[in-house]
């Protein structure tokens, strides 16, 4: 408090200094960026201070993903600094990624001086126009008196309610000019005041349904992670005290421990047989912090047809968007779980434990299918086996481990075979599905957790989309491990072509791949290539033991498909299982082919 007292008098600074002061006052320690003409005043101010560390990326898209990795692994707001024009447009993919996955990010973009805006000046782009649908909110600062307040407000907006990315567009004359520095306001925001505390009437209605449930399920998503580690702890308490099965979305992995017997694995398109059949057959569903995404629901009119649905979400627009629910709860996942637990304990109505035991017997029957089993035979490495061994070996070592991924088959195998016992350890591009996410995200995680083991589980195609960031790893000595499941195909594209398009592998073969060992070496990193199953464990240990960055190029079976799978347009009880497994169905309908 004394620190703020000393600074209450208004000080005059340059715009660039105001921006940095506001970042500091909002607890920022690191920003990811790339300089350019319009932001030179900010870079000059950065040069003359030591409180904020700047990480120089090799491409602006990577700066945003790095900030996302930083944010997701710490719960803080990630900060990005890019120049005008191409700097801003390159950042757009990262912004949409953060928007879709509800990640708090502030992106400062340079802009041409205010008197040149609209003149098609050099490196001018309509950044606020372009990023309006790519952000939660954005600002163009045209008056230096509003600069400090705008930065403070941006932090409030980025992290309040459903978090998301915020752009602040900063014309160069604003950065150079002088103006007052104002502290963050104490008054509530004029218009944006999202509801975080749930309404008790809906909590009581939810508990009434849940207490009477004979076949309940808890379906929890990224909202629980975003609500902070306490929310994950409360989720564990709630699931254990109620004896209910729990499943996670891709975004929710780690909120409830994967090794707990009440965890059914991930649900959805590549979720487990038991999770999806339990969703299909339940009589009461509690969705906390997930949004009935199409990857989760499958065919909507066949989604969990006989259940009462409770949906708790901090964003009212997520409720009744895709699926009609019976009880809607608006609030922060942690606050909702706390209220549910209290109300559950106060409620006299007994649970039908016999019915729930019967429900678990059904679930155990589905579990018996062993939908994630695979057979590792011979010398060719199965991709599932590579991820499973990576998990088991890191688990044995007991080191704090963070996993990021790119997008595709390897991402789904990572979600299926790597177990997460804690929140904030799993960073993947869920909503947008951005290839090239994993390496820069891993950079951001490693910056936040310098002593942790950070692994990007990648595919050989995805990794090339932001491979330039190997340079950033080298510059900052970030010991990120890139674990490539190399099947020489854009594997998920190839899989869909096999299943939906008569095995016509149009443009999905990874032709002319680089030599990843030499590529790693060219970027001052360690390169490894593994082709034999017998070498896998030693290679993983060697990769982890190496003190610097590593690319481990793991040659895996080329034609392996990711199963189980709910084909597009199918319902949860119409899963395709791996060849040789009992149950499930095959084939995709014509209506399904239209879907992605």
């Amino acid at each position: 408090m004394s620190a703020t007292l000393q600074t209450t008098e208004t000080r005059t600074m340059t715009g660039a200094e105001i921006v940095l002061q506001a970042l500091k006052d909002n607890g920022v320690e690191v920003i990811f960026g790339y300089p350019g003409g319009a932001v030179l005043p900010l870079y000059d101010a950065l040069f003359q201070q030591n409180a904020i560390r700047h990480i120089l990326v090799r491409h602006e898209q990577a700066a945003v993903h790095a900030a996302e990795g930083y944010a997701r692994s710490t719960g803080k707001v990630g900060v990005v600094l890019v120049t005008s024009g191409p700097g801003a447009t390159n950042a757009v993919t990262g912004l949409v990624d953060a928007l879709m996955d509800s990640i708090p990010v502030i992106c400062l973009t340079g802009q041409v001086p205010t008197h040149l805006i609209g003149n098609d000046a050099f490196q001018e782009a309509d950044t606020t126009g372009i990023t309006r649908p790519a952000t939660k909110h954005n600002y163009l600062v045209k008056d230096i008196k509003k600069l400090a307040g705008t930065v403070h407000e941006a932090f409030y907006v980025a992290k309040s309610g459903r978090p998301g990315p915020v752009v602040i567009d900063l014309p160069k004359d604003i950065l150079i000019g002088k103006g007052p520095y104002n502290e963050a306001p104490q008054a509530p925001h004029r218009s944006y005041r999202p509801q975080t505390e749930p309404d008790m009437t809906s909590i009581r209605a939810a508990v009434r349904l849940l207490k009477g449930a004979r076949r309940p399920i808890v379906y929890a998503g990224g909202g629980v992670i975003n609500a902070g580690p306490e929310a994950s702890r409360l989720l564990g308490d709630f699931v254990r005290m109620t004896g209910m099965p729990c499943t996670h979305t891709l975004m929710g992995l780690g909120a409830f421990p994967s090794e707990d017997p009440q965890f059914l694995g991930m649900l959805g398109m590549h979720g487990t047989y038991e999770a999806n059949l339990a969703m299909h057959g339940c009589d009461v569903m509690l969705n906390i912090g997930a949004r009935f995404d199409d990857r989760v629901t499958g065919r909507l009119n066949a989604f969990s047809p006989n259940s009462k649905k409770i949906h708790a979400d901090i964003d009212p627009s997520s409720i009744n968007k895709n699926v009609k629910v019976d009880v809607a709860i608006v609030g922060d996942a942690g606050a909702v779980l706390k209220a549910l637990i209290e109300c559950w304990q106060a409620d006299e109505q007994p649970q039908d434990r016999a019915a729930i035991a019967e429900w678990w017997r059904a679930i155990d029957g589905w579990r018996g299918t062993g939908c994630l089993q695979y057979r590792q035979e011979g010398s060719i490495i199965k991709p599932q086996h590579a991820v499973k061994r990576l998990y088991e070996i890191t688990r044995e070592m007991g080191r704090e481990t963070f996993i990021t991924t790119e997008v595709g088959q390897h991402q789904m195998w990572a979600a299926q075979y790597f177990g997460f016992q804690k929140p904030n350890r799993w960073m993947t591009s869920g909503g947008l599905g951005t290839m090239g996410y994993g390496l820069p995200a891993a950079m951001g995680v490693q910056i936040a957790h310098p002593d942790a083991l950070v692994i990007d589980i990648a595919g050989e195609a995805s990794i090339l989309m932001n491979i330039q960031e190997m340079g950033t790893l080298a510059q900052y000595r970030l010991p990120v491990k890139v674990f490539i499941l190399n099947n020489e195909y854009m594997g998920m594209v190839r899989q869909w072509q096999e299943l939906l398009h008569g095995s016509r592998y149009s443009e999905s073969y990874s032709e002319a791949l680089p030599d990843f060992v030499r590529l790693a070496e060219a970027f001052h990193a360690r390169g490894m290539r593994v082709t034999e199953a017998s070498q896998l464990d030693d290679a993983i240990r060697e990769m982890i033991a190496h003190p610097g960055p590593v690319i481990a190029d793991i040659a895996v079976a080329k034609d392996e498909n990711c199963f189980p799978m709910i084909p597009s347009g199918a319902a949860h009880n119409e899963m395709i299982l791996a060849p040789g497994q009992e149950g499930g169905v095959t084939g995709v309908t014509d209506e399904g082919k239209v879907l992605v």
């Binding site: 126009g129 909110h137 907006v157 004029r190 218009s191 009744n320 895709n322």
Partner: protein
């Protein structure tokens, strides 16, 4: 509770109180185009200069579920203070203003004037061969008058789109 299988479309007149700031209209219009919602009419103007507030009136149509989505999506925009579904929340008044130019001489001209009188349209500009009528009312009334003017010599129409307000003493405060 909205039902997703419901396909009946309804009209909704939605009032939105927003910060009077650059880009707010683009945010609202972008929301409608980006999510594929209909806009039948949209009006906007500042209503409180001291508090920097503008009011947007949007007439849209959709299933109950879509209209609920539209309201929730509008409400989560940062500069939006309040969203009200006037159609759902009780009786309301909806008015539109039109300026209608009719060109003609002789009997056609007299006929236009007689009809304008019947419809309580005011003459706001006149030449030997033209009138500009100003007319306020419900959209259907404007439609009817414009349709009548068409054979007589309708030359040009400019309409404001719908503005609306709830009946009774209740206010719509930020």
């Amino acid at each position: 509770m909205p039902d997703p299988s419901e396909t009946t479309l309804r009209n909704a007149t939605i009032a939105v109180l927003v910060e009077n700031e650059a880009g707010i209209l683009a945010r609202v219009v972008g929301l409608f185009s980006g999510r594929g919602y209909n806009i039948e009419s949209l009006t906007v103007a500042p209503v409180d200069a001291d508090r920097r507030l503008s009011r947007i009136t949007i007439v849209t149509s959709g299933t109950d579920m879509v209209i609920e989505q539209i309201k929730a999506q509008l409400d989560r925009l940062v500069p939006v203070h309040k969203v009200s579904d006037l159609t759902l929340e009780g009786p309301h008044l909806a008015r539109e203003l039109a300026l209608i130019k009719v060109v003609g001489r002789g009997e056609a001209r007299m006929e236009a004037l007689r009809l304008a009188d019947a419809f309580r349209a005011r003459v706001v500009d006149a030449t030997i061969e033209s009138f500009v009528f100003e007319m306020t009312g419900a959209g259907e009334k404007l439609d009817a008058f414009i349709a009548l003017m068409r054979p007589i010599g309708l030359a040009e129409v400019s309409r404001t789109g719908v503005v609306a307000i709830a009946r009774g003493p209740g206010g719509f405060e930020a």
